[in-house]
């Protein structure tokens, strides 16, 4: 068979099965030198499995992995690294218990060891070089606990790029959803870095944000059901086309269900005046019944802090909050829940779900009192309610007793949303509700958000993308440096442009 000579990393006719599923079905995939390859697909399409094959986590059932044209048996991420394949993980994998330098060279301390002694000065000097590549100006001895999330992500990328000065041939960097914690400016910086380093490295770029993939990649692979269903040059691709390939159907024009954006009621569901806490001051807003209020802002603008304060997760230092006209004190999440405020967190796996508990237990977690009579949990009633929500939201789960950890991200998120609906929350604070949710499930989530407003629920939305924020919201607040800097109405047909918001964000 013919093979491009310049391929630095390729997978040929790879097949991998797990009990009951074919995760990779005869996949052939290659990355050429100095190339940025986009890899897209819904969750469960096989992207993660492919990455795990490329980093040696999973051995293949059939087919082979080739590095620089030679068959390689990769025994794990470390072995892949030594072969020139580095991965930037989707989950934050920076260890906050170690310093910046120690994180960059974790597992490769041998390079700085003489006779068993770790030479710290040498390690720090080398770390400085790597940090420069990602334009991060921090002391290598700083503990990663003292860095922001975005800075940690940059350390993560620096760690992968450090391979550059260690391997003679070309290197391949796998970027798995690297932008999910980054804001626009940092994403732009990342893309610049990627472009700068193309003469030394090839990249595989994975993201749910199709526009980003198009912006940075030369070529895009689309995966569905464990197989590659499309390969195209970015120049020939459009988001609609990619989307169609991914989900196997055309993207509906009304992606954000704008046709269902109704008129909010007149009643004020949530009113906030002069609110202050760590990260923001003097925030006032009014949220009407059935309204979606979007809040835009970069990381550190205070919008996350505001969301957490409203959820009772951060102490409020000044100001007042009223729900349906009644003043409430939000000193703990249970106060917020009691006031009818539900919080869908950004870190779903940490604060959204209990992976080791069952679907039904998760669903009734915020409203257990409703299922208790005479001090006894009524399992039957609980299960019935849970099942009705499973049916209603089309949550794919074998049963109500399944461990939530085994569900896909989208189904987990639907479950989190149902948790608050079961709890009868009248106000929902959605902090990146579609993060880590695949495209098909995203639409379900949007549908669900519209359903909720139809029922009179009010929503505060911190969107995953500006596009999403604009598409969904009735009204948008922009925050910068802890204050509200602008307010936009966003009625159907008269939505603000992204650039209008951005000018107030930075």
């Amino acid at each position: 068979m013919s093979r491009a000579v310049s391929a630095v990393l390729e997978v040929s006719h790879a097949t991998k099965s797990f009990p009951g599923v074919v995760a990779l079905d005869d996949v052939t995939f290659e990355v050429r030198a100095n190339e940025v390859v986009g890899l897209i697909g819904e969750n469960g399409a096989g992207k993660s499995t492919l990455l795990k094959v490329l980093t040696g986590v999973y051995p293949l059932d059939e087919g082979e992995v080739l590095v620089n044209g030679e068959s390689a048996r990769l025994r794990g991420p470390r072995d892949a690294f030594d072969h020139g394949v580095a991965m930037v993980f989707q989950e934050q994998s920076v260890l906050i218990t170690l310093s910046v330098a120690e994180n960059i060279f974790l597992g490769r301390e041998a390079e700085f060891t003489r006779g068993g002694v770790l030479l710290k000065a040498k390690m720090h000097a080398a770390a400085r070089v790597e940090l420069q590549k990602v334009r991060l100006d921090v002391d290598p001895a700083t503990s990663c606990a003292d860095l922001t999330f975005a800075q940690r992500q940059m350390v993560e990328i620096a760690k992968a790029l450090s391979l550059d000065s260690r391997i003679d041939g070309d290197i391949v960097v796998l970027l798995d959803e690297p932008t999910s914690v980054l804001e626009a400016k940092e994403i732009e910086l990342l893309f610049e870095i990627v472009r700068d380093l193309r003469d030394r490295a090839a990249f595989i770029f994975i993201s749910h944000r199709l526009d980003e993939v198009l912006a940075v990649s030369d070529r895009v692979y689309v995966m569905r059901d464990g197989a590659i269903v499309g390969e195209m040059a970015s120049a020939d691709a459009t988001t609609e086309k990619m989307h169609e390939l991914m989900v196997g159907r055309a993207l509906q024009h009304e992606y954000y269900r704008e046709n269902r954006q109704g008129e909010p009621g007149e009643e004020i569901a949530l009113s906030v005046s002069g609110l202050a806490a760590a990260g923001f001051t003097d925030v006032s807003l009014a949220l009407r019944k059935g309204e979606i209020l979007g809040i835009a802002g970069v990381v550190g603008s205070g919008r996350e802090d505001l969301a957490r304060a409203l959820a009772g997760l951060a102490p409020i230092s000044a100001g007042e909050v009223s729900v349906n006209g009644r003043p409430v004190r939000l000193t703990s999440p249970s106060d917020a829940v009691g006031a009818g405020i539900g919080y869908v967190p950004r870190e779903r796996k940490v604060e959204g779900i209990v992976a080791g508990a069952s679907v039904v237990e998760n669903m009734t977690m915020a409203s257990i009192d409703d299922f208790i009579s005479l001090g006894i949990i009524r399992h039957g009633r609980e299960r019935k309610v849970a099942q009705s929500w499973i049916d209603r939201l089309r949550i794919r789960t074998p049963s109500t007793e399944t461990m939530v950890g085994s569900l896909s991200g989208g189904n987990q998120q639907k479950m989190v949303l149902s948790k608050w609906q079961i709890a009868g929350s009248s106000i929902m604070v959605l902090d990146h509700p579609t993060r880590g949710v695949d495209v098909g499930a995203k639409e379900d989530v949007y549908e669900l958000i519209r359903d909720m407003t139809d029922q009179g629920l009010s929503i505060i939305l911190l969107g995953d993308t500006l596009e999403e924020l604009i598409g969904l919201s009735h009204k948008i607040l922009v925050m910068r440096d802890g204050r509200i800097t602008a307010t936009f109405d966003a009625p159907v047909g008269a939505k603000p442009e992204q650039i209008e918001l951005i000018t107030h964000m930075v």
Binding site: P77, R78, F81, S93, L95, T97, L106, E109, A110, K120
Partner: protein, 329 residues
């Protein structure tokens, strides 16, 4: 703007955090001041030497325990390893139980025996995938059992003056045991700061899955950490034999909880990833000063456990850096 924003939100926090590191030392100084006010003899230089002497063996024990706890594990075999090493060491020098007389060879032998038992702990823990709590509990029982079976209730009495000198000899007015403990701290500090294993302990305690992905040899590091912890316990056994002039199966009694308490009071988190052997040295001093102080202040015996309990709660509440722990178990 970046700096401005960070300055506002983290400025104060990071200042406190930087100083929080010193909280255990503050607790120690405070405790000393209170005791010295009640009984000024506390700060008599001779008493300070006695305090160091009392701290010597616990210090050696916490070195190993800190390593294990940094990984988020725990070593409950401390008492057993200490006893069996003390028995071996005392039976190797001139004594009434065996005809052996290997002199100071008993020291490396005791350490190696500890290392071996620690290694067994580690291997059983990682290969059978049993929580370290249970593995080390079981192996600790086995160690005491072996010592008991060998001695059949006897006590080995040491007659080797050279070996006893490990505890009794004074250099610059300070007992040799203290110097050994200082050396042990330096070795431990070196391992922690200047070897790969030391750094890997923090990585494993911080997030084992990530450390594994980065190519950290988790299993090997775990086994090594338990082996090193065993070696320190073995050294402590040798020191205890030299100090008490004997070796028997119950030598280790009462050492375990003191050791773990000292590690935690020093500010090392039981959940792993946060702490240092230096913290633990401070922790040992806090515990030893507390005990010494209660006798100096003439507290009635029945009240001591209670007062100790309350003060330890106070000390940990002040000393523990919880800023990095979102929740406490």
């Amino acid at each position: 703007m970046e700096a401005e924003r960070r300055g506002r939100t983290d400025g104060l926090g990071s200042v406190i955090r930087r100083h929080r590191r010193w909280a255990p030392v503050v607790v120690l100084v405070l405790l000393c001041a209170i005791i010295a006010m009640v009984n000024p003899r506390f700060i008599d230089p001779f008493n300070l030497v006695r305090l160091l002497n009392a701290a010597a063996i616990p210090t050696v024990l916490v070195m190993g325990a800190t390593f294990v706890i940094l990984m988020g594990s725990i070593d409950l075999s401390v008492e057993g390893v200490l006893a069996v090493s003390a028995v071996l060491a005392s039976a190797m020098v001139a004594n009434n139980f065996t005809s052996a007389d290997f002199g100071l060879w008993a020291v490396p032998a005791g350490i190696l025996l500890g290392l071996a038992i620690g290694g067994v702990n580690g291997v059983a823990h990682v290969t059978l995938r049993i929580p370290s709590f249970m593995t080390t509990l079981g192996i600790g029982f086995v160690a005491v059992g072996v010592a008991t079976a060998i001695l059949q209730g006897d006590t080995v009495r040491i007659s080797d003056k050279g070996f006893r000198a490990l505890s009794l000899e004074r250099i610059l007015g300070i007992p040799a045991g203290v110097w050994i403990a200082v050396a042990a701290v330096l070795v431990a500090l070196f391992i922690q700061e200047r070897t790969r294993m030391g750094r890997w302990l923090y990585a494993i305690g911080g997030d084992e899955a990530t450390a594994r992905q980065a190519g950290v040899p988790i299993e090997r590091t775990r086994v090594m950490a338990f082996a090193v912890a065993g070696a320190f316990s073995g050294l402590a056994g040798v020191m205890a034999a030299a100090q008490l002039g004997q070796g028997h199966a119950l030598m280790g009694q009462g050492r375990l909880f003191v050791t773990i308490t000292a590690v935690v009071v020093g500010g090392t988190a039981l959940s792993g990833g946060v702490g240092s052997v230096l913290n633990s040295v401070v922790g040992v001093l806090i515990v030893v000063v507390l005990f010494n102080g209660m006798v100096l202040m003439g507290l009635p015996p029945f009240a001591q456990q209670g007062v100790q309990g309350l003060l330890i709660i106070a000390a940990v509440a002040m000393a523990l850096d919880r800023s990095r722990l979102s929740f406490v178990k």
